[in-house]
């Protein structure tokens, strides 16, 4: 399927892409740095700890060796060029560990001056890591593709979809879409903690077959999408295929967080398509009475605990 509009947005459809050329070079540089530090720490742990102004006891050497091993793994990962974002973030996590270890060790530092310099150096590296990590992150686009078969003709499904103001009926994350004319529309989404809205324009349109759109500049969540309608074999209605690309507000971490709270974009698109099917085939999104039994095992335990606490006035 064509991915019209994606390149115009400055976000590419392939999730493998992470960061521009400069960022990738920075990630590689960090890889070599990790490798060097790793080799040094493994080969001469006492030298490294003395350089950092900490005593060279056996336990310190062990810690330094472990740090060295970690750096080697991270260096190899970064130089492999695959998913640099994850590796750079792992460096940030390592920096935090190193800084706290240094802070602890500084109390018994053999040379406070050197320890202070070492801390400053690590802090500097941390800054570079964070900068690189944010950059690799910020350009990452998420691509979702899902399909559903609707027992209606392509013309019917197309006509319904083409009026974007219908979308909130089956896309639970949209509050409303206003059609502005000239292929332009204004979208208002429900998002946790904030209100997201943007204008979009239609980028391609073949009646009864395909609609493509993309968010205009300055959209809070840069996004583009395409939906195609094809007759299902055997007169079984219409195969509706949706393909969405967007840059999540908080990058990979944002996507992970969204998944954690049950907002996985892939599942979301799937559910939206299921709802589209329901609206077109039965005129409504099927609902079930949630009041009757909403007590899963966790809620049940929580309710019991609460009840017991209430009954005993909070005494154990």
């Amino acid at each position: 399927m064509k991915a019209a509009g994606f390149s115009a947005l400055g976000i590419e459809a392939t999730p493998a892409h992470e960061g521009d050329g400069n960022t990738r070079r920075m990630a590689r540089g960090l890889g070599w740095f990790s490798l060097g530090l790793g080799v040094a720490a493994l080969a001469a742990p006492r030298g490294v700890s003395r350089l950092a102004g900490i005593d060279g006891s056996a336990s310190t050497s062990t810690v330094v060796r472990l740090v060295g091993a970690r750096e080697l793994v991270q260096g190899a990962g970064l130089l492999s060029g695959r998913r640099p974002s994850g590796w750079v973030w792992s460096r940030v996590a390592g920096d935090v560990l190193d800084l706290s270890a240094l802070a602890l060790a500084t109390r018994q530092a053999t040379s406070p001056l050197r320890a202070g310099l070492a801390g400053t150096a690590v802090a500097g590296i941390t800054a570079v890591d964070v900068l690189t990590a944010t950059r690799t992150r910020s350009n990452r686009a998420v691509r979702v593709e899902r399909a559903v078969t609707v027992n209606r003709t392509p013309a019917e499904v197309y006509a319904y979809y083409r009026d974007f103001s219908n979308l909130p009926r089956f896309m639970t994350h949209l509050e409303r879409v206003d059609m502005l004319g000239n292929g332009r529309s204004h979208w208002v989404a429900k998002a946790p903690l904030r209100h997201v809205e943007w204008d979009a324009e239609i980028t391609e349109e073949v009646p009864d077959q395909v609609i493509g759109w993309r968010a205009l500049e300055h959209a809070g969540v840069p996004n583009a999408g395409q939906v195609s309608f094809a007759p299902a074999p055997g007169g079984r209605g219409t195969e509706v295929r949706v393909s969405l690309t967007y840059r999540p507000p908080a990058g990979a971490a944002g996507v992970a967080l969204a998944r954690l709270v049950g907002e996985d974009p892939d599942q979301q698109v799937r559910e939206d398509l299921r709802h589209l099917k329901q609206v077109l085939e039965c005129g409504e999104v099927i609902k079930v009475d949630e009041r009757v039994s909403a007590r899963g095992p966790v809620q049940r335990r929580a309710t019991r605990l609460l009840r017991r606490r209430l009954a005993t006035g909070g005494r154990p």
Partner: protein, 391 residues
């Protein structure tokens, strides 16, 4: 309102639950006058099917009176007496339009678990787990019936609740079991299980042209009941070797069609049964497949095995070699009730069918726990307990 609820494995209690409301224009609210226990409820009570939550209202086989309809309901009005099928159809998807109602694409609002377990989700069902949609069941004075026009069927005048309540589930399930066998005059059919579904399948097989039907169970009273009301021959699997007996009584051919009306908690004898029970208890497989294996081994070459007993997950030691090499046709489904219910109500009103004898016990809603215990233990030769939720 009071309702019979699942409140844990082997725990059935009467609880206070909120009254249902019209949630969509196509809903109806039905005042339940009779609601039957079903063998498939035992899988929930025994804890073999996932997705039940404490406080879920049980029951999916019922008859009642429409008390309220949404603005988009056209075929029903308050006061109509209706039988409602256990599986909910939408009427608009490909499957409903093909008559495969239990496969409805749209009526399970929580399809993700079934999609993970089975690849696809099937239609919603009343009082049968949240993986099955989470619709409250019928052991309550009031129930919400979605898409009422396609799911609720008016009861012909002059029939009692006992005569029509099984037209909701047991009868159409049994009928479908026989229908899937493509019976011809002279067909010989074996049916595993003499509960209400099995006995319905026996009756249906005769009405669809079978010459002989052999029914299999272990409870003498159920076997006697089946003989008396359906005219089937019977075999007790605790007394005879079923494979040998079926082979001999059919002159060495084996039955032309074998209907499995037992499901995942099949009883059995000997080592095989002990093996199945152990593995099921250890959660190493979810089904006990003794009856299904027998059906496959007993069936004549080129015959049909029809599965209407409920299975949920994975079965071990499935005799695929026998099924493949003997060129068996295997058909199975949850009931496509909407396809059969009007025809069955018609046959009941013409006295061609009278399943009322299956309602061996009648209890008020308050005795829900007692009713299920009797049913599970087959106490007092219980075949079916029917509750009367609206008093």
């Amino acid at each position: 309102m009071k309702a019979i609820c699942w409140t844990g494995v082997n725990r059935v209690t009467v609880e206070d639950v909120p009254e249902p409301e019209i949630m969509s224009g196509r809903d109806a609210i039905v005042n339940v006058t009779s609601s039957s226990v079903c063998g498939s409820d035992l899988h929930l009570i025994d804890g073999y099917l996932p997705g039940m939550r404490e406080g879920d209202v049980l029951g999916h086989e019922f008859v009642g009176e429409v008390v309220e309809v949404g603005p988009d309901v056209t075929r029903l009005s308050p006061g109509d007496r209706v039988v409602v099928g256990s599986f909910i159809g939408c009427g608009g998807c490909y499957y409903c339009q093909e008559g495969l109602w239990s496969l409805c694409d749209n009526t399970n609002p929580q399809p993700v678990a079934q999609e993970k377990l089975w690849g696809h989700a099937i239609g919603g069902v009343y009082g049968y787990t949240h993986t099955g949609g989470g619709f409250p069941g019928s052991h309550a004075p009031l129930i919400r019936v979605p898409f009422a026009d396609v799911n609720a069927f008016p009861v012909p005048d002059g029939l009692t609740d006992e005569q029509v309540v099984f037209a909701s589930d047991a009868l159409p399930t049994g009928w479908m079991g026989a229908d899937m066998c493509d019976l011809r005059p002279g067909s010989v059919v074996a049916v595993w299980g003499c509960g209400a579904v099995g006995q319905s399948a026996v009756r249906a097989a005769f009405l669809l042209g079978a010459e002989r039907v052999i029914a299999i169970d272990r409870l003498p009273e159920r076997l006697r009941l089946t003989e008396r009301h359906t005219g089937a021959e019977t075999l007790n699997f605790e007394e005879v070797d079923i494979l040998r007996a079926l082979r001999e009584t059919t002159g060495g051919r084996g039955p032309d069609a074998c209907i499995e009306a037992v499901g995942m908690e099949a009883q059995g004898v000997g080592l095989e049964h002990a093996y199945d029970r152990t593995k099921q208890a250890m959660r190493m497989h979810t089904e006990r497949g003794g009856t299904l294996r027998q059906a496959i081994l007993a069936c004549r070459k080129g015959g049909t095995v029809s599965i209407i007993g409920v299975f949920g997950g994975y079965l071990d030691k499935f005799p695929i070699g026998a099924a493949m090499n003997k060129a068996l046709t295997m058909r199975m489904a949850q009931q496509h009730g909407q396809r059969y219910i009007p025809m069955l109500l018609d046959r009941i009103s013409r006295r061609e069918l009278d399943p009322s004898y299956l309602a061996t016990h009648s209890l008020p809603l308050e005795q829900g726990a007692r009713g299920y215990q009797m049913f599970k233990d087959k106490e007092d030769d219980c075949v079916r307990v029917v509750f009367h939720p609206s008093g």
